[in-house]
Symmetry: C2
């Protein structure tokens, strides 16, 4: 029988924000795979690291990091072939995903290539908008609020339209778009309602009003905006 | 010293979808509190039940269930007073929250009453949109998709405007609004892209195309819509 492919959400960064279900799946799989930068450590693996039993085959899926560009299809083709070969041998493969596998995860590109031909399960994880709200001590949405999760790379006009249409927003993938996002929020009169969170739930977590952020933002940064001030009133 | 108030996300329903951090916090608290119906079992407590050590004081916050109405402020005032008294005695209080505490949780109303006067921590949890996507085997958002979390009680016009403005939507709190939500999606030509999920990740989970749902929907039901068919392409 073919092996089981598990897309496992390991949560936003704190190794304690992993679920029991994720833990079980990642410790029993014969093969672990995870996205990684061209060189050095994988964030997804580092989140899971305290829980790894050792003795598993590990496959780092190394993604070229070109700002503003999505990794080339060849990276995923090659990774899908490598994982598919293990699955055909009847070995279970666990793909570690930061946050949740189905929310902007690179797992999506493996999923679309392997789901038709192999058994697949997805184990949801704590995603970063929730971790950012917890870090800020600011609710995301209450009652009949609309929450929008908006990627920062959208152009100014689309960003503004999205922000005008929701009650609260989590702007993700901020990184090099920080200054532009701040400009759009300023023109909408929302800058003083915008909070910046970097590496939520990790040891290096930083939070501050968006207006006070001076440094360039890393990829793992987010802006939380409440259009009506306090979302829960 | 005053006790610590912890808002703890216990996840969407499967007791294995609780995090290690939530487990630690809920087992070490002297007092457990949770929302509950006027009579009978609390869902949040039932999710945590397999993990409870016993010997903790428990406070069920019983919410009148009037469809379409939010519980009266008195319920929260009374609950906040009860929890505040324990905190003043130096006892830690854990409030169990379905999904994530800061996404439509009743914890918000305790938080706003107690956060100024007591130490508070929030432990994020796996929320139901992610659990629904995992159950369906359908990604929520990829690349620069905008994901909107939209409460079903919004009127038809606001629902339609929200659905027209995003790439993928999680329509929450469907319940008695099911037929109306289906009508709005049908008029937008989105009915065949809408999936229905009831009690995601629980033993009684049901999933089906929205067009095929015949029965009244329970409160814990959701509709996932991808405007562009497959969100991840």
């Amino acid at each position: 029988m073919s092996g089981l492919l598990s897309g496992i959400g390991v949560g936003p960064g704190d190794p304690e924000l992993i679920t029991l279900k994720a833990l079980k799946a990642l410790t029993r799989a014969a093969v672990l795979a995870y996205p990684a930068p061209p060189e050095g450590e994988s964030l997804a693996r580092s989140i899971a690291a305290p829980h790894l039993p050792g003795g598993q085959e590990e496959i780092a899926i190394r993604m070229p990091l070109e700002p503003g560009r999505f990794p080339a299809a060849e990276v995923y083709e090659e990774a899908a072939a490598a994982l598919g070969a293990r699955l055909k041998e009847g070995r279970d493969v666990a793909v570690l995903c930061e946050g949740d596998p189905f929310l902007y995860g690179s797992f999506l590109y493996l999923f679309e290539r392997l789901a038709g031909r192999h058994r697949v399960e997805v184990i949801p994880g704590v995603s970063s908008p929730m971790a950012c709200a917890a870090a800020l001590g600011l609710p995301l949405a209450a009652r009949n609020d609309v929450l929008a999760v908006i990627p920062a790379p959208l152009d100014d006009q689309r960003l503004a339209a999205q922000l005008a249409n929701c009650d609260a927003a989590a702007i993700v993938k901020v990184g090099r778009h920080l200054a532009r996002v701040r400009g759009v929020l300023d023109r909408l009169g929302l800058l003083d309602r915008a909070h910046y969170v970097e590496r939520a739930s990790m040891a290096a977590q930083r939070i501050m009003p968006l207006a006070a952020v001076a440094t360039p933002a890393p990829y793992f940064s987010m802006v939380i905006v409440h259009r009506r001030g306090a979302a829960w009133r």
